[in-house]
C-alpha cells in the first residue's frame, strides 16, 4: 500500500514523500484514529524494529509536521517546552519542540522516553490526559493539544530506569515486534532493492539469531541491521563479510559467540 502511495506522483508532490513502511498489522489505522481523537500514543518495541520509521511515515501520510526529540539523561523540561534565551539586552522566549508541535498542531515524538529524567516526563502529564493542555508557566500561556507520541524499548533499560506508571497510564499503547519473515523480506526488498533470494537468506539468519534472545545474546538482530547488511550486499560487497560486519560483530563482543554466529552466516551464504 505504501509502495503504491509513494509511486503515485500526486502524493510525492505533497509535503513529504512518505518514507517506506511495511505495516505488520493495523497500526496505521490505530495511529490515524488516535490522531483524529487527540489520543497520545506509546510505542514500545525492540530496537530497530521500525518505531521511528513508522512515526515519520504516518506524519508524512497525515501531512503533519513532525518534531522528534531523542531523549537523554540531561533532557530537562525546558528543553521540551522552551526557555527564555538571553539576547542583546533582553530575554527572548524560545519555543521548545513540544511547544512548537503544539502551536503547529503537529506531532511531537519523544524517542526512548525512559532515558529522559523523571521530572521531565511529568511535564507531559497535562498534555497526555483529558486536559490536553500545555501550560507554560514562564509565558503564562495555555496551548491546546496536538498529537504526542512516545516510544521506548522495554528490554533495554537501566535497572533504575523504567517508565513511571502514572506516565504510562496516559497513553494508548502499541507494541511493535520484528515483522514476520515474509514481511521482513518485503521490507528489505522495498528498502534496499535487494533481490528476493538474498532477502530470504538474510531473514533466515535473523531468525536464527533471534532464537538466541535472552540466552546468548542480549540484543538480537534488528530489521535495521538487516537493512544495513542488505545495503552492503546491494552495493556489491561479499554477503558473508557483509553479514559479519553488519550483524555478527555488531551483536556480540564475545569471540566464541561470534564464531557461532559466523557459522550460521556461513551455513546460509557459505561456500
Amino acid at each position: 500500500m505504501d509502495t503504491q502511495a509513494s509511486n503515485t506522483p500526486v502524493n510525492q508532490s505533497l509535503i513529504h514523500d512518505p518514507p517506506f513502511y511495511q505495516p505488520s498489522g493495523d497500526e496505521c489505522e490505530l495511529f490515524e484514529r488516535a490522531w483524529k481523537n487527540h489520543l497520545p500514543l506509546l510505542i514500545k518495541g525492540p530496537t530497530g524494529c521500525g518505531k521511528t520509521r513508522f512515526v515519520s511515515h504516518m506524519a508524512a501520510r497525515l501531512h503533519l509536521p513532525l518534531y522528534t526529540v531523542a531523549c537523554h539523561d540531561d533532557l530537562t523540561a525546558a528543553d521540551l517546552v522552551g526557555r527564555h534565551l538571553i539576547g542583546d539586552g533582553e530575554t527572548v522566549w524560545n519555543d521548545g519542540p513540544l511547544t512548537r508541535a503544539v502551536r503547529e498542531g503537529g506531532i511531537c515524538y519523544l524517542d526512548e522516553v525512559v532515558e529522559a529524567r523523571k521530572d521531565t516526563t511529568v511535564v507531559l502529564h497535562p498534555l497526555a490526559d483529558d486536559r490536553r493542555m500545555l501550560p507554560i508557566d514562564r509565558t503564562g500561556e495555555l496551548l491546546p493539544s496536538f498529537m504526542l507520541v512516545v516510544s521506548y524499548n522495554p528490554g533495554y533499560q537501566n535497572f533504575l530506569k523504567g517508565m513511571k506508571p502514572s506516565t504510562r497510564q496516559r497513553f494508548v499503547s502499541l507494541t511493535f515486534d520484528f515483522p514476520t519473515a515474509a514481511q521482513e523480506e518485503a521490507v528489505l526488498v522495498g528498502e534496499t532493492g535487494i533481490d528476493a533470494m538474498t532477502a530470504k537468506r538474510l531473514v533466515s539468519i535473523a531468525g536464527a539469531f533471534r532464537s538466541l534472545r535472552d540466552h546468548d545474546l542480549e540484543e538480537v538482530a534488528s530489521t535495521r541491521l538487516l537493512v544495513y547488511a542488505a545495503t552492503l550486499i546491494k552495493d556489491g560487497y561479499d554477503p558473508v563479510r557483509a553479514c559479519r560486519a553488519a550483524l555478527v560483530e555488531t551483536l556480540t563482543d564475545d569471540p566464541e559467540t561470534a564464531i557461532a554466529l559466523s557459522e550460521v552466516v556461513n551455513a546460509t551464504f557459505g561456500r
Binding site: 530537562t76 538571553i86 533504575l160 537468506r201 557461532a260 557459522e263
Partner: protein, 610 residues
Amino acid sequence: MEEYVGELWDRLITGAAEKRHAAVGVQLDEIAKPAAIFFRALGGDPGLGISAAPAVRHGARRRLLQRVAGSGEKVELSWRDGHVLRLPSQIDLFAEKALNRDLYFWLVALAAVETEHTLPWIVRNQQATLITLQRFPGLLSRYDRLVAATLAIRIPPEKLPADESAQENAIRRALQEPGTVNQILLAKRPFQPVPLWPHPQPPVSASTEDANGSGSSEHGGSAPVKKSRRKHLAERTDATEDKNGFLMMFRAESLFSWSEFVKVNRPQDDEDDAETAQQVAEDMDSLSIARDGKTSAASVRFDLDLPAGAEDDTPLGEGVLLPEWNWKKQVMQPDYCSLQQLIAADATPCELPHALKNTANRLRRQFQALTPTRHWLKGQQDGEELDMDAWVQLVSEKNSSMPTSEHGLYRAQVNQERDLACLLLADLSLSTDAYVSNHSRVIDVIRDSLLLFSEALTATGDSFALYGFSSLKRSQVRFHYIKGFEEKYSGQVRGRITAIKPGYYTRMGAAIRQASSLLAQQKKRQRLLLILTDGKPNDLDQYEGRYGIEDTRVALIEARKLGLRPFCVTIDSEASDYLPHLFGAGGYVVIRNPEELPKELPMLYAQMTR
C-alpha cells in the same frame, strides 16, 4: 629388549592402521561453546547441554591393518537425548582441519532438526539432511566436501562381500543423493559407521528412574584434578545391601573384567589415584553406577543426616508449602515443597572481622556517593538560581568578541532518590564446604561477601535483606534468616552472618519462590533479587540436572512477573553452560576467582544500580 621391540611394533602398526590425523584433529573443548550457540541458533532446544559421546563398539568390518593392530574397534558418534547433545570428544577423521571442524558443525546442524521418530534411521537421516540443506543452503558445498571425504575413507563396496556391498551402496547413495533411499537391507555384519549421521541406536541408560530415590551426591572434597568432558554410558544397577564385600565366591572360569559391575560393597576402599581411575574408566564401554546416594568420600567426610532438634537452628514459625515445576510432565505441582525458615541458634553479636575493616571502610566511602542527596547541578538551561560562573564566562566571552557558545546559566537543585530494595539469597549447600584456596572455603568467601555487602549497602541507605538456603529433599527446604528488610544492620546480624555453615543440597526453585514473595512485599519501585551460588540446582531426589534447572527457570520467570529483577552471581566456572538459560545473557556474572567475590559483589551492586 623384547618389551622394547613390542612397543615399537605396536606404535608402528597402530600408526599405520589408524587412518586418523591427530595433528589436525579438532577437540570438542575447542568448539563446545560456539557449537552450543550454533545449535540454539538453528532452533535446537536451549535446555540441552553438550557433552562428549563415549566411544562405542561398532562391530563392522575393519581394514586388515586395523585388525592386526587391534584398533578402530570403537567409534564416537553423535546423538541427542532429553538432556544432552552428545558429540565426539574429538574429530580427526580427515586430513584437513577445516573438514574436521566442519563435521562438528554439520553434526550440530543435523541434531537441531526434528524428524519423525517412527521412520527408519536411514530415512530420518536423509530427511534431516534435506531439511538442513534447505534451510541453510550455504551448508551445501560443505556437505558435498564432507561426503566426498567420508566416502574416500570408507572401504569401497567392491572389496566387500555381496550383502555388505549392497548395504554400503545404499549408504553411499543416501549420502550422495539424500532422499533417494527408502530402506536399507541389513547385512550380517553391521555397516561401517557413518560419521556424518547420528548414532543409529543411541545407547540409552538402562533405567532413568531409580527405585532408591537418591540423587547424585554433592561432595565437597577437593576439586577434581582433571575434568573430562566425556560422559560415560551409565547403566544403573542396584547396590547390594550390607553384605561383606570381601567375601566373594571364587569361580575360576569367570574372571571379572573391568567393565563388569561387581557387586562389591566397599564403601571405604576407594582408590585415590585419580589418574589411573580415570584412564581405566575411559577404557570401559559403560560405567555401572549404583546409586545409593553417597560416594565414599562424601560418606566419610560428611554426615548427611539432619541434626537433632536440640542441635539445629531454631525454626521460625510454621513451614511454608511451595509449588514445584515438573518439566517432564510440564505441570506445576502445588504444595510440593515444604520450606522452613530458620534462625541461627548459636549466633552471638560480633564486630566486623579485623581483616575486613580496611576494605569495609573504603567501600563505605565509595557507597556514600550513591546515597540520595539533594545537590546542585551547574550550567543548567533552567533552574532556580543563576549560575554566576557561567554568567561571568558568557559576559567575558562577549566582551572579548569571541563567538559565544550556548551556555546554561542556571543552577538547578536535583533530588536523586534511590527507590530500591534488594534481597540477597546465598546458597549454603554442602558444596560451599569446598576449598577455593589454601586457606579459605567457599563458605568463608560467602561470609566475607555478605559482611562487606551489608557494610556497603548500609552506607547507601538502600533497603536490603539477607537470606541463605539449603535443602534436603522436598520436605526440608531450609531457609536461613540472616537479616530482614525491617531489621537494622547490627552486631546481631553480623553474628548471624558469621554463624552460616554449609548445609545440604541446593533446591533453588523453592528458595527463589520464597525470596520472591518476601521481596514482592516491599513497596519499592525497583526490587533486585540477587542470588549468590556456587553450582547448579541439585537435591537428593529427582531434583537434579534438567529437572532442577527447569524448576529454577520457572521460579525466576515468576519472579520477573512479580516485577522483580533476578540477578545471579556465581563462582561456578561452568556456569555459562546453564545460567544463560536461567537468567539470560545479561542476568548473571561469573566470578572467575572466587577469592575476589567479597570485593566484587558490592561493586557489582553499585554498577547495577548507578
